[in-house]
Amino acid sequence: MEKKSAPADWPLWEVFIRTRQGLDHKHAGSLHAADAKMALENARDVYTRRNEGISIWVVESRHIHASSPEEAGAFFDPANDKVYRYPTFYQLPDELKNI
């Protein structure tokens, strides 16, 4: 007899939910499922039981490549000393309006 596939063998999926129309999809969590259809249905049951979403994306976790937390310091360092990327860096007189 063929060995029954246990949930542990199912791939992991990352779930992204659009909570309201017009907004982008945000990561909500993950789950195991045998295929994309099951992942979508399970995501619906797990993450949108109280109407938290109007659209769901599922992506197999193995397709997601993440930056490394240990290297975050050096990785994000280039933005640390660039205060001139913010509007408040520029000193303008108070009488100047609508800018």
């Binding site: 129309q21 017009g22 907004l23 982008d24 659209s55 660039k82 001139y84 990327r85 913010y86 509007p87 860096f89 520029y90 000193q91 303008l92 007189p93 009488e95 100047l96 309006k97 609508n98 800018i99």
Partner: protein
């Protein structure tokens, strides 16, 4: 049962965003591809006139700022190209349309940047006009476009301020600096006013675009708003906008302004501005010169995946 078209129209009516997988009329898709790719091209070509001054910025502070601004424009181009791709056109095709001249970009970038003061005038006037155009686009009916615009508007806010700061510094400088400041404002004013596009009665796509809630305000409405704001701001600089007929109109509550030279506008749109050929040639050259980088990246990825498979 409602037809796809009725569902679409109903969503537009009720301010529900259209998303890439939703059914949409072919003309809506085409109009968005045209407008969004044109917008993306403008961000990318817009790097050229400013890039011209990076090596000659008058201080390290100004140079760092200008680099940051040009980097932002590259990023904005990417947001918009990606959003355009959700409509089913490839990046390759959109670039092809730019390079062949089939797709346009904002005509403002076909004017030259002759002095350092031009960088100030571009920030104040050109980015000012762009922001005026872009803020209402944050509510555009197509979701990916609207979301890209939210990001862009947030990042753009420093662009206009740094431009004004440059002009303010020059306006308080030597006589030569003050003259340079006025000269740049005088040259950039009318092309900036034209950035809002042809007058409403001569704007072929406007009506449909507003009906579909891609655009929220007409060209002339936005232009008036821009003129009203700038007419006040220029006073802080102690400079003049080059329009003898500009005058506050108590009755309308707006500034009256002089005739716009639409012949010049169409002439530049049709490829005969001072820098059209130079800009397009620079863009094509950058793309072609970069070919080896794209090829090398693919070759490296292939090699890595092969060694991974055999390991």
């Amino acid at each position: 049962m409602l037809s796809s078209e009725q569902i679409f129209e109903d969503k537009i009516e009720r301010e529900i965003r259209i998303e890439p997988k939703d059914w949409m009329p072919e003309d809506y898709r085409k109009m968005l591809i045209r407008q969004m790719s044109q917008h993306a091209h403008s961000e990318i070509v817009g790097m050229l006139p400013e890039g011209n001054w990076i090596t000659r910025a008058p201080s390290l502070r100004r140079k760092a700022t200008l680099i940051a601004k040009v980097q932002d424009e590259a990023g904005h181009g990417l947001y918009l190209y990606s959003a355009t791709e959700t409509l089913g056109i490839t990046r390759e095709e959109t670039l092809q349309q730019l390079h062949s001249g089939k797709a346009k970009y904002s005509s403002i970038f076909n004017y030259p940047t002759l002095t350092w003061a031009d960088i100030g005038a571009i920030g104040w006037l050109v980015d000012g006009a762009a922001i005026m155009n872009q803020v209402p686009l944050c509510r555009a009916s197509f979701g990916p476009y609207a979301r890209a615009m939210v990001r862009i508007c947030k990042e753009e806010s420093f662009h206009q301020r740094q431009g004004f700061e440059i002009l303010l510094t020059l306006s308080r400088g030597s006589e030569a600096q003050q003259k340079m400041c006025q000269d740049a404002i005088s040259r950039w004013w009318w092309p900036s006013v034209m950035m809002f596009g042809p007058p409403d009665e001569a704007s072929p796509h406007s009506q449909k675009s507003m009906q579909w809630k891609i655009k929220r305000f007409s060209n002339d409405e936005l232009r008036q708003k821009f003129i009203d704001v700038c007419a006040e701001q220029v006073k802080v600089l102690g400079m003049k906008l080059p329009d003898e007929k500009m005058k506050w109109n108590e009755e309308t509550g707006h500034y009256d302004f002089g005739e716009i030279n639409w012949d010049e506008f169409w002439n530049v749109v049709n490829g005969n501005g001072p820098c059209n050929k130079e800009r397009l040639a620079a863009r094509i050259k950058a793309h072609e010169d970069g070919a080896w980088v794209r090829e090398a990246a693919v070759a490296y990825a292939v090699k890595r995946s092969q060694s991974f498979n055999t390991a």
